[in-house]
Every structure is written in C-alpha cells, then in structure tokens.
Amino acid sequence: AVADADAMYQYDEVAQAGIQQQKPWVDVPHYFKNVKISALALLKMVVHARSGGTIEVMGLMQGKTDGDTIIIMDAFALPVEGTETRVNAQADAYEYMVQYAQTNKQVGRLENVVGWYHSHPGYGCWLSGIDVSTQMLNQQYQEPFLAVVIDPTRTVSAGKVEIGAFRTYPMDYKPPDEPPSEYQTIPLNKIEDFGVHYKQYYSLDITYFKSTLDSHLLDLLWNKYWVNTLSSSPLLGNRDYVAGQVSDLAEKLEQAETQLAHSGRIGGFFMPPQRKKEEESQLAKITRDSSKITVEQVHGLMSQVIKDILFNSVTS
C-alpha cells in the first residue's frame, strides 16, 4: 500500500505525452468519470477557499490523467477574486499562470495544469452560467481540463469538505437523463443560474489519496485536530451562515405564497396539472431545505450537549 500510495507521485512524461497525442476524450463527451485528489491539493484548495470568506476565489490544479481518471497532485491560488462577477477571472492571471507553470518545470515539477477550482461560499457546489462557459472554453483549448468547486461555508457546517468536480458537455450535445444528484439547497438569488445550466455539465466521482509522508505529518497533527474538533461548535462558527439560510428560506416562502395567491385568483382548477406539480415541488423543496437547516442545528446542539455531559458534569 505504501509503494502504491507513493507511486502515484511519479510523473511519466512519455506516457502523458502519449495520452496527449491520442486524445481519447475527444469523441466521448463522458470520457472522464473519476477524480483523484491528493491530500496536499485538497488542503491547499480548502484553506484558500476559506481564506476568501464570502468572496469567491480561484486557482489552478496540476496533475495528470490515468485512463478515465484525472489525478490532481497539487493546486495553487491565482491572484484574482470574484469569479461569479467576472466573465473570465482567469484572464487577469494569464501572465501569472504562464510564469508559474514555466517556473514549475524548471524546478522539476513536470505536472501540467489539468483544471481550475473556485469557491461558492455558502451556496453549494455546482457550475453557474459563467462557470459553464469558462469550462467549455478550457475544454476546447486546454484538455484535459477539470472544474472543481468548493463551498467553504458548508464545509465548516457539515464537518466534511463540500466539494464537486465537473466537466461540461460539448455545446450541442444532448446528455442522457442523469440520475438526480444529491439534493442541495440553492439560495433564491442563485436558483435561476443553477436551473438553466445544470444539464450542460456532469459531476465526477472524487476520491482522495495521500503519501506516506502526508500520513506521518497528519498523524502528528492528530491531537491538534481533536482539540480543534472538540473545542469548536458549528452552532457558534456558523451563526451568520444559518441566519442567511433562514432569511433565504423566508424569501422563498414569500415567493411561493405570492405565486400560490396569484394562481388562487385565476382559479386553481384552470391551472394545468404540470404547473400545480411545480408549485407543490417548490413548496416541498422549501420544506426540505428547512428540515436540512434544522437537522444541522440539532446535530450541532447534540454535540454540545454530549460534550457538556462528558466534560462539565464531573467536578474533581
């Protein structure tokens, strides 16, 4: 296992050049299905995303491909922000990217850039319209190329990294009906963007790997990790995020109520069944979102109650 874990870190330039020649992904829109991310790259991306707070940040990922798997070895931040508000934030950083890639080669880091990552603080992991067009562009000129999205806010609240890896389909490609991906709450101010584009891309399965050195270093941090875990509470760390979610929920309820009231005036029986279905599914989604928020709160409280009983109920 040790040899395998570390073998991943060897870069076979000839093999990679061969793959680049064959371009097996050209004819198969769904070619890449899996992503393997190194512990180092994951940590760097999550720390960078969290450092951005509520601002979207972005960076590039270096690695290689192995069959239908894209392997991310490392990642580096780009000096840009606000990916959602700019057409293509990467444009600002081209010079930086080129220099970084060249310098890397000079120091023997042969991996090429194989993708970009950016953060969606508080509104989940999916591709917006701008993201889809940026990724399509990258897949046209920089294959193999992957888009990774991280939600640092939900990472803290869920206690695990909220991350998604995506690839876009060619412009005129009609994808087969996808099985519904894991449900996630989309804030009202983003729902339009989410709804329009979600058929233009697909998500890949993500697994992680680490080297023996990573394992040793992470073991050394084990106590610190536990002290931080035991001494932090999502109830405290996530207050403004939860408040934002509840206010988003209230807006959605307002909107649903307006629509229901509106459809009530023109007489429910005239409403086509499809429309009725939509109203219900919208309300069902709101109910689901509110249950999700509450479940997270109750989990946070449960951990507080358990810690209180364990560590505060005994006086020495």
Binding site: S233, Q297, G300, Q304, D308, F311
Partner: protein
C-alpha cells in the same frame, strides 16, 4: 506507578472543562435557538 498517577491527577483536575454562568447562559441560548428553529421547520412542514 507515580508518573501515571500524576498524569491522571492533572487530567482529572481539568474537570469540569468549563463551568461558568456565562457558559450556562450561552448554552441555554443555543438550546432555545435550536428549539425555535425546530419549531419553525415543523410549522414550515405544515
């Protein structure tokens, strides 16, 4: 073993980890916030 006894003594003396009125007030407020959210979610369900 004296060394082990000293370590246990050091650990046991750290209990309770935190025991102040301010903590109790905060804790109770968190409790009530969560109960309120649960109530809101139940109403939303209805």
């Amino acid at each position: 073993e004296h060394s082990l006894l000293r370590q246990i003594s050091s650990l046991v003396r750290r209990l309770p980890a935190i025991d102040s009125t301010k903590f109790q007030d905060d804790f109770l407020m968190e409790y009530n916030d969560t109960l309120l959210m649960t109530y809101l979610a139940t109403i939303t369900k209805c």
